[in-house]
Symmetry: C2
Subunit: 220 residues, 2 copies
Amino acid sequence: MYTQAEENYLKALFSITLEVGNEEGVGTNELADYLKLTPPTVNNMLKKLKTKELVNYEKYGKITLSDSGRAHAVYVIRKHRLWETFLCKKLDFNWNAVHEIAEQLEHIDSPELIDRLDKFLDYPSFDPHGDPIPDAKGKIKTGSRKLLSELKPGAQCRLVAVKDDSTAFLDYVNRLGLKINSLIEVVDTVDYDHSMHIVVDGGSHTVSKKFTDSIQVLAV
Amino acid sequence: MYTQAEENYLKALFSITLEVGNEEGVGTNELADYLKLTPPTVNNMLKKLKTKELVNYEKYGKITLSDSGRAHAVYVIRKHRLWETFLCKKLDFNWNAVHEIAEQLEHIDSPELIDRLDKFLDYPSFDPHGDPIPDAKGKIKTGSRKLLSELKPGAQCRLVAVKDDSTAFLDYVNRLGLKINSLIEVVDTVDYDHSMHIVVDGGSHTVSKKFTDSIQVLAV
DNA sequence: TATAAAAGTTAGATATATCTAACAATTTTA
DNA sequence: TAAAATTGTTAGATATATCTAACTTTTATA
C-alpha cells in the first residue's frame, strides 16, 4: 500500500494540475512549494514514485501522474471529502474546521470503511465546501461550475464552494445567510463596477465583484 | 504530541499490566513479545519514552507507566474503543472485524473529534466487545466483571465480552442469540461437570463449563 | 549569444523506528 | 555455588522521509 507521504504527493499533483489547469505537467519547485517541502526532498520522492510507476517523470522534465497514480490520487480525495462530510453532517463541525482532521483521516487504509462511510452518508456528491466527491469507481461529478460573477441577470444557481478562507469573507458569507447549496438568484448587475443584485432566501443584497469572484456556483 | 509508535507502546504497557495483573512492572522481552518487535527495538524506544517521562525505567529493571504515560495510554484506549463502537453501531461492521481499522483510527490526533464522536455515540460506557470506554476524564467504569461460570443459580447478568475468538465459538454464541448486553439468567448448574442451564431472550439452553468460562458478564 | 536568473539535481546529514549479531547481566537449576 | 538458561543491552545496519549546501542544467534577458 501507499505511505502517507506518497498519498500526499499524489493528491498534490492532482490538485495542482486541476487548479492551474497545468496540462503539460508540474515542476519540482512548484510541487515543493505546494507541499511546503524543499525541492531536493521532492526530487527524492519523485524517483521513488517513478519506480512505483505512479508518476511520469524524466530528469529535468515535467511531472505528470500515471493512470494508476491518478486513480489513487482520486481515491485519496474521495476519502478526504467523505470524512469532511462526515465531520460536518454527523459531528456538527463547522465546515471551515474540518480540513486538518480530514488530512489525517484520509490516510486510513480500509476500502470497506470508505464504502460503508459513503453509504452511511447516503452517497453524497459534494462535500461541505461544495467540492465534488469521487464515487466508488473514481467518477467525479463535474457539473457546470462557475463563479457567481460570470452569471447573467435572471440566472439561478446554487452555492457549491467559496474561494476565500479569510474570516472577514466567511463572516460576510454567513451574514448574507449563504450556505452550501443555498439558492442564489441574480437579479441585476451594475455595468460600472460589476457589482451584483442577488436574492438569497427571500433577502435582497448588493454585492461587489470582489465578492462574486470568490463564490463558486452550479447553475440550476 | 505522540507518534503512533509511542502510543502503541503506552497502550501495550497499560494492557499487559491489566491482563497479567503485573503490578511490579513489565520486562523488555515481554513487551517486545506483545508488540511483535525485537527486544533491542523496545529497549531503544524505552530510552526515548523515559526522557519524555512517560515510563519509569532503569537499566535491567522493570518498566512501569508514569502518571502522564498512563493518562495517555487510557486516552488511546478511549479513542480505540469509541471508534470500534462507531464502526459497529453506525457503519454496521461486525464486532469482530473492527479491531484492525480502530488500530489505525486510534492515532488520529484531535481531542475535539473524540469528544464529538463520544457525544454522537451518546456517551457509551462499553465498546462492542464489552470492554469499558474511558470517559473524557479518563475514568473507566469497572463494574464487577465476572466469568459466567462463576455465577450461582438465580443470578442475572449481562454479557459484556467473550474470551474466545474462534469461529466455532462465535457461531455458537450467535446461535444462542447472545449479543453484547444480552440478559442472561442462570437457572441451574450441574455439580457433576459444572454445565449450566441458562435462559436468554426467553430461550432455555444448557451450556458447558468450557463455554461459560469464555463468557464475561456484568452482574445485574 | 553570453550571462544572469531560475529551476533542478546530487551528496551528505539528521531523525524515527526498525532490524541482526554480539555481548552482558540476572535468574534459575542442577 | 557454578553452569546453564533467560533476559536485557550495545553496536552497527537499514528504510523512510526530511533537511542544507553545493553544483548543474535550463531558461530568460541584456
